[in-house]
Amino acid sequence: MTLQTALDTLAAVFMIGGAILSLSAGVALLRFPDLLSRMHAATKPQVLGLILVLNGCAIRIGTLKEITTLLLIVVFQLATSPVAAHMIGRAAYRDDYVPTGELLKDELAPDAERLWKAQREGRG
């Protein structure tokens, strides 16, 4: 097996792995019962999936100029995806879109009023 074949195989493994993770994110999005659970699926397996696919691309392309751009995509994805998920989750909880009765335990509920008051007063 030449080096090129080995690299191609590695790239293929990365891309297929990434594709499976992205598919699982899609399936989870359809199947999970409530908004917060779906946010997990929509934001996280997809990040790793993207990282794997871009890894595969980086191996296949192999020029520095493109790889730096791919690296930047990963960094921005890692930095922004949790923020987006948090903002949606936070808004959903506040507007009662989260069926808190179905949670195993909700440790935010007893603190919620105090916390939101503090945030409104600019201390949060």
Binding site: T43, L64, L108
Partner: protein, 194 residues
């Protein structure tokens, strides 16, 4: 609040500014895809323009970077990311079973904004945990957790978040913050002001 914001000396302030400029110049060059003098110079100009027109809130980074600990933190982070991604993917394909979830409150030991942000980022990047809310004043993260089996599982998850915080502080925290994480976790949540 004063204890949350360690006063930064002029030197620390300058160091944080320089770090910000370097990061922005690096990003600019990566965006263009190559390092040239022209990119370097325009990058510096853009970086200064950004810092002047969009001033960031002061980051209270007063620690120092320990490369080995940082490498350990990143290694653990990526293993967590991998393991948890597979777990969530597995949950997704278990038809006919509804995953349980819960919201946990985790009291962090180091209450600086930077620590809160970085722990929140790291926790919420790992699939299966999502930050629902954060109490900046008291350093508490409210984390929605997917696939909780029972309450004991939830406690183990909370201990895991505190271990992540400890790894992070060991990687980039100051000596004072290191002492804070060596104390036992403030588990009694009743102590907080209501």
């Amino acid at each position: 609040m004063s204890q949350l914001k360690p006063a930064l000396s002029r030197r620390d302030h300058l160091r944080n500014r320089i770090a910000a400029v370097c990061g922005l110049v690096l990003t600019w060059n990566l965006l263009w895809g190559e390092f040239t003098w022209a990119n370097l110079i325009t990058g510096v100009l853009v970086a200064f323009a950004i810092l002047i027109f969009f001033p960031l809130p002061p980051v209270t980074f007063a620690g120092r970077v320990r490369p080995l600990r940082l490498a350990w933190f990143l290694l653990r982070f990526f293993t967590d990311l991998l393991v948890a991604s597979i777990q969530v993917a597995w949950l997704a394909f278990q038809f006919g079973k509804r995953p349980n979830s819960a919201i946990a409150a985790v009291q962090l030991r180091v209450r600086s904004d930077l620590n809160l942000t970085l722990v929140a980022e790291a926790v919420s990047l790992v699939p299966g945990s999502l930050i629902t809310d954060a109490d900046r004043e008291n350093g508490i993260l409210y984390i929605h957790m997917l696939g909780v089996k029972d309450l004991e599982h939830l406690e183990r998850f909370k201990a895991g978040v505190l271990r992540l915080e400890a790894r992070l502080v060991k990687a980039i925290g100051s000596d004072a913050e290191l002492r804070m994480i060596q104390q036992p976790a403030p588990s009694d949540r009743q102590e907080r002001p209501q």
